[in-house]
């Protein structure tokens, strides 16, 4: 490890299910010890069995276990873990958790807390992208009054979508098709945003009715280097939940991939992004891609990127979190073949 690195040897995995196993595997291959945390509902889970140590952190409800920050930090303390991987979901995009880990001397496997907070605020993230020259949909800033709302809606036109500043992943959105429905939808969206995220701020954007969902995977280190690992297409969704993802997208040629990937790298370099991140774009029928939001974590669908790039993304996350430089330059990353992922859910067919 290089000077100034923040090496660690025991990783607490603050998650469950397949992603806890995925992280465990990466740690084991790198010679890192592992600590699983689990709720009382998961005593028979494989991540508990396969980890070097396991700590029960609470009863079954997630708010009392996998979202229970003091219990997770305590589990790290009593086991001597010196790093935390949050996986996806649960605390993965909680900037306060990331900051608390660092204050407690735990390396958080992800971007720095201020960057998570920046990208978690959808209006600030949009502004950061505009500054970096990334196309965004015509939209507004935070709309606090009905006058501001009407003016913004008049500029943007219909249909439009109202989004929560603190939202993401499809939560807290309202589509408005004409002016008559505008004010009601806006006040409902504010109420929902307050209830769901503790923050009533909303903004509006032009709504694309049948977009393709295309996202760029980036990886940055703590030395200012950022690369992209190509795109994924995640258009097959149900209620904003992705079901099938593939890499590459059938509609991006090499030039379009270079262009979109280059934009993502430029934007991430500008804000000093490190670790894994995903810039989500909507592509309209004309082929124009617009930035939608950035996810500051490992994605469920990172697997398709791994299969076409040959990069173990979790191991790369661990390496850059330890202060290492990225192992490859952009021109060394070659994408090969095609990968498709299906998310198999336990649900009534």
């Amino acid at each position: 490890m290089t000077a100034g690195s923040r090496s660690f040897s025991k990783v607490l995995i603050a998650n469950r299910g397949e992603i806890a196993l995925r992280i465990l595997r990466a740690c084991r291959e790198l010679g890192l010890r592992t600590v699983a945390v689990y709720s009382q509902a998961d005593a028979e889970a494989l991540h508990v069995r396969f980890a070097d140590q396991a700590v029960c952190i609470g009863p079954p409800p997630a708010r009392d276990s996998y979202l229970n920050i003091p219990a997770i930090i305590s589990a790290a303390e009593i086991t001597g873990a010196d790093a935390v991987h949050p996986g996806y979901g649960f605390l993965a995009e909680n900037a306060e958790f990331a900051a608390l880990c660092e204050r407690c001397g735990l390396v958080f496997i992800g971007p720095s807390a201020p960057l998570m907070a920046l990208m978690g605020d959808k209006v600030r993230a949009r502004e950061a992208m505009v500054r970096a020259g990334v196309p965004v949909l015509p939209g507004s800033g935070v709309l606090a009054t009905e006058d501001e709302l009407r003016r913004a809606a008049g500029d943007i036109g219909y249909p439009l979508i109202i989004k929560a500043c603190a939202g993401g992943g499809g939560r807290g959105m309202k589509i408005v098709r004409d002016e008559g429905a505008l004010v009601t939808a806006w006040s409902m969206a504010r109420t929902e945003a307050q209830a769901g995220f503790g923050n009533p701020d909303v903004y509006v954007e032009r709504f694309i009715s049948a977009p393709r969902h295309i996202e760029i995977q980036v990886m940055g280190d703590r030395h200012g280097q950022v690369v992209h690992l190509g795109e994924r297409e995640c258009s097959i969704q149900r209620r904003h939940q992705k079901l099938v993802e593939e890499a590459p997208s059938a509609v991006l040629d090499a030039a379009a991939r270079e262009q979109l990937g280059g934009l993502a790298v430029r934007a991430c370099t500008a804000v000093g992004y490190d670790n894994a991140g995903t810039l989500e774009f909507l592509r309209d029928e004309s082929g124009q891609c617009y930035f939608m939001e950035m996810n500051t974590r490992l994605q469920v669908e990172h697997t398709v990127t791994e299969l076409v790039s040959g990069v173990d993304m979790v191991q790369a996350q661990l390496a850059v979190a330890a202060g290492e430089r990225l192992a490859w330059r952009q021109e060394q990353l070659q994408l090969r073949g095609h990968a498709i992922e299906c998310r198999i859910n336990a649900e009534d067919p």
């Binding site: 009382q40 700590v55 029960c56 609470g58 276990s65 003091p70 219990a71 305590s74 303390e77 407690c104």
Partner: protein
Amino acid sequence: MAALAALAGAKSITSPFVGTFYRAASPDGPPFVEVGQTVRKGQTLCIIEAMKLMNEIEAELDVKILEVLVKSGEPVEFGQALFRVEGA
């Protein structure tokens, strides 16, 4: 059925959270409770340290301590049995 009946009078007190178990307020201090002692509801049984905070764990009922299941200074997880007790 006999085994179940024999166990019916004994219960355990479990840890309400993850942390480090201490039997006394200071390393050299006397333990809060000893085996054989009967404690009153609200009386301190032990300390669980979590995130540098010392949390006193109190008895929820009047009970007699039959066994201390964890050594002082050992880590405990949520739901782990700390004391074997019976109703007093």
